[in-house]
């Protein structure tokens, strides 16, 4: 077979004398990517002008005129710089409150440790070598450890009531427990939605569509206002737990749709082969169908988790002390009231760091899947 090398080729033209635009690789790159046409050149120039203006303003506000440190509980320098410079001094003043809420000050290493356990758990779950059944045990262990750290109640760890919890651990707890408990619900509902039994199928469809059709806020309102109405006299559970239940129900419906997508991707032959082997319905799903389906939906699963992570901030509206609520409460302090933008930027960076890491991870998984 003739390949390109077999074909006689004309001798390469002698390297052209390089001038002007072609003189340097960087210049060639700029010509190709920034100034390839008149329209492109105009766009580039306009963007550079706008960017320069915005960056100069931002640098002046955020760095040059910013106030970095302040004596405790005194915001005089910040107030002097108001309008021309950022007051980053509010962050060292308030970060413990923003991150841990009203958790007893001397015990705040415990929520900090819980955050580290969460991060370790996410890291372990992201490794392909851990995608086995034992991962369930790791999750159970890690979540129990987090519960132990937060609640305490054993010698050395004094008991801390749930009302004192706050900040980043609460955000992480709401999202992660939502995923952990919503996932089994999601699997059952997804299986139910594909079941041949009409009553079960319609119940599952009803659940998923009702929950997905209404905003999460209305579910949270339901949890905070209606839950006590639906319970027998004298029975009441903590506000945080009620919100957690609402988030689990919400997560269950969305995860069911994700899992259903994965179930649809498993070829029919797999099911038929399992039937032919005489496996029961549960054996077939547990051993054959679900392992393949779940592997398939890991990237959308991560994306759904990112969405929950952001959505947990809605508990602010029913007054639960998550990261965003803690930030909003931190700036009620009259001395620092005027500097909410700085605090919001700080919290935004935290949210961004978590979400961006996860979305990069999910994209790398997707690319690995398509490359296969």
């Amino acid at each position: 077979m003739a390949t390109l090398t077999d074909v006689p080729q004309a001798p390469r033209p002698a390297a052209r004398h390089r001038t002007g635009w072609d003189a340097h690789p960087a210049l060639r790159w700029m010509r190709a990517n920034l100034f390839s046409s008149i329209g492109s050149t105009i766009t580039t120039l306009i963007l550079i002008a706008l960017l320069a203006k915005a960056l100069i303003g931002l640098v002046q506000w955020g760095l040059v005129n910013a106030v970095w440190t302040e004596p405790a509980n005194d915001s005089a320098a910040c107030r002097a710089a108001r309008g021309i410079g950022a007051c980053w001094a509010v962050i060292p003043e308030k970060y413990r409150f923003i991150l841990f809420g009203t958790y007893p000050y001397d015990q705040q290493w415990r929520p900090a440790a819980a955050i580290l356990v969460f991060i370790a758990l996410f890291f372990v779950s992201s490794r392909r070598s851990f995608w086995r059944r034992e991962l369930v045990l790791i999750w159970a262990g890690a979540l129990s450890l987090i519960g132990l750290l937060m609640w305490g109640g054993i010698p050395g760890l004094p008991y801390v009531a749930q009302e004192r919890w706050g900040g980043l651990p609460v955000t992480l707890i709401l999202a992660t427990f939502g995923l952990a408990f919503g996932f089994p619900i999601g699997i059952l509902v997804a299986l139910g939605r594909r079941s041949k039994l009409p009553a079960i199928r319609s119940l599952c469809v009803l659940y998923v569509e009702l929950i997905r059709g209404v905003p999460l806020i209305s579910l949270l309102f339901m949890a905070s206002v209606m839950f006590p109405l639906f319970m027998p006299d004298g029975f009441n559970i903590d506000k945080l737990l009620r919100a957690q239940i609402a988030i689990i129900m919400f997560a269950g419906a969305y995860l069911a749709e994700v899992v259903r997508g994965g179930l649809q991707a498993v070829p029919r032959g797999q099911q038929e082969a399992a039937d032919a082997l005489g496996l029961t319905y549960w054996q077939k799903n547990r051993l054959i169908v679900l392992p393949q389906a779940i592997r398939h939906v890991i990237p959308p699963l991560v994306n759904t988790f990112i969405a929950f992570f952001k959505d947990t901030s809605l508990v602010l509206i029913i007054g639960i002390f998550d990261l965003l609520t803690a930030a909003k409460t931190a700036i009620i302090d009259p001395a620092w009231q005027a500097f909410s933008v700085e605090v919001y930027v700080f919290v935004a960076v935290i949210y961004f760091a978590f979400c961006y890491a996860m979305s990069r991870y999910s994209r790398s998984l997707e690319q690995a899947q398509t490359a296969k």
């Binding site: 990517n33 039994l197 119940l203 806020i217 639906f230 006299d233 965003l324 979400c355």
Partner: protein, 393 residues
């Protein structure tokens, strides 16, 4: 050929070996559990409500609401009924959702196309826009915009980005035309003209398909959509004077005002959703086979023409389904309004709930409104999707 007979259904036997019987048992079990749980919750609720002396039912809708609503499009005073307050809330939700969907689609499409631009700087900036907005909770962005809005100078020192537009802590004030029934009549005529033009255009295209002769349709368009309403307006003497906002004392008079709460909410949902729409548009355009570009460019067509007439119509088929769910998300996200005090349906239902204790009814109303809106958007988008779907022989 003789029609094939269906195999007879296997007879159900009452044994656990029989799949049909097992299925029936499972259904009875699951439905039974659901009925028992719901019945138990319901009986608790009835008991608790009677203890708290709250009567169930929607009779409270006829009572005087007594709640102030500052930003309305339809006439409302605190003396009106709860029903009217709910209608105001629905209109407020719809005006965020509809205008938000239109703006988010426009911004999102532009950013999505910018991400694919050959200009490196433009595509990088678009990517930064998408990444930043997607990875920060909407509620945080909303609070951020609202704080910025409150930090604007008061009406006296308002910013004037363009003549006639004022940005202050009173929101955005811009020139507008005070609308009355005459204007709505003219707008109605223009809408009818649009519908007539749409039908006529379909007819003309069908005729062109038959004999191949091109029939320009734009003159009819101008006639029906511009000339006809203008004529009606001129004959019935409808004034189209633009009212410019002016500073009177501490506030503005004239023009149209977007309250700071509405403006912040609109900016937040539009920028947030546009980041998602940009990704959908980008992946939709990338899903169109590169050969389509090559073939069209080889024919000597201009890049912008290829994008409009060849690539986008094909990309739309990939774009529409995820776009629909973004529209639904935007509508549901508009309920975050309650956090900054914009009175949408959720906020008004919440106030009602606190005033009357009618928790079940208030939340049922929220759910009914959102399910109706979601269903309408889904139906419309499914119709649109069916229309643009590839028709193969």
């Amino acid at each position: 050929m003789t029609p094939q007979k269906r195999p007879p259904r296997p007879k159900m036997t009452f044994s656990l070996q029989n799949d049909q019987f097992k299925g029936l048992l499972w259904q009875i079990l699951v439905v039974g559990i659901a009925v028992v749980v719901i019945g138990w919750l319901w009986s608790n609720a009835i008991h608790n409500l009677s203890v708290r002396r709250i009567s169930t039912g929607f009779a409270f809708l006829g009572r005087e609401a007594g709640m102030p609503i500052t930003d309305t499009w339809i006439a409302y005073s605190p003396k009106d009924t709860y029903l009217r307050a709910f209608i105001v809330g629905i209109v407020n939700t719809l005006r965020v959702a509809v205008i938000g969907i239109v703006l988010a689609t426009i911004v999102g499409t532009m950013i999505g196309i910018a991400r694919l631009s050959a200009n490196w700087l433009l595509s990088r900036l678009a990517a930064i826009y998408v990444e930043t907005l997607r990875d920060i909770p909407l509620l945080l962005q909303l609070l951020f915009w609202y704080v910025l809005m409150q930090g604007l100078p008061p009406a006296r020192g308002a910013w004037k980005p363009i003549e006639g537009f004022f940005l202050s802590n009173r929101g955005l004030v811009m020139p507008g035309i005070p609308l009355d029934s005459g204007h709505w009549g003219v707008i109605g005529v223009a809408a009818l003209g649009c519908a007539a033009f749409y039908l006529l255009r379909r007819h003309l295209i069908a005729r062109q398909m038959q004999d191949g002769r091109p029939r320009p349709n734009w003159p009819y368009g101008i006639l029906l959509i511009i000339v006809l309403p203008a004529l009606v307006s001129w004959l019935s003497d409808v004034p189209w004077t633009i009212s410019m906002p002016e500073l009177h004392g501490f506030n503005f008079a004239g023009g149209w005002t977007l309250a700071p709460e509405y403006f912040a909410l609109l900016i937040a949902v539009v920028t947030y959703t546009s980041a998602f729409i940009a990704e959908i548009v980008r992946s939709g355009i990338q899903a169109v086979h590169k050969g389509q570009w090559d073939a069209a460019l080889a024919l000597g067509l201009k890049r912008s023409f290829v994008l409009q007439k060849i690539v986008l119509p094909q990309a739309l088929r990939v774009i529409i389904p995820p776009l629909t769910s973004q529209y639904l998300n935007l509508t549901k996200n508009s309920s975050l309004a309650v956090a900054i005090g914009y009175q949408d349906i959720v906020s008004i239902a919440n106030t009602t709930l606190n005033q009357t204790g009618q928790a079940i009814e208030a939340i049922a109303l929220i759910m009914a409104v959102f399910l109706t809106i979601s269903l309408s958007i889904s139906l419309f988008m499914n119709w649109f999707n069916a229309r643009i779907a590839l028709t193969e022989r």
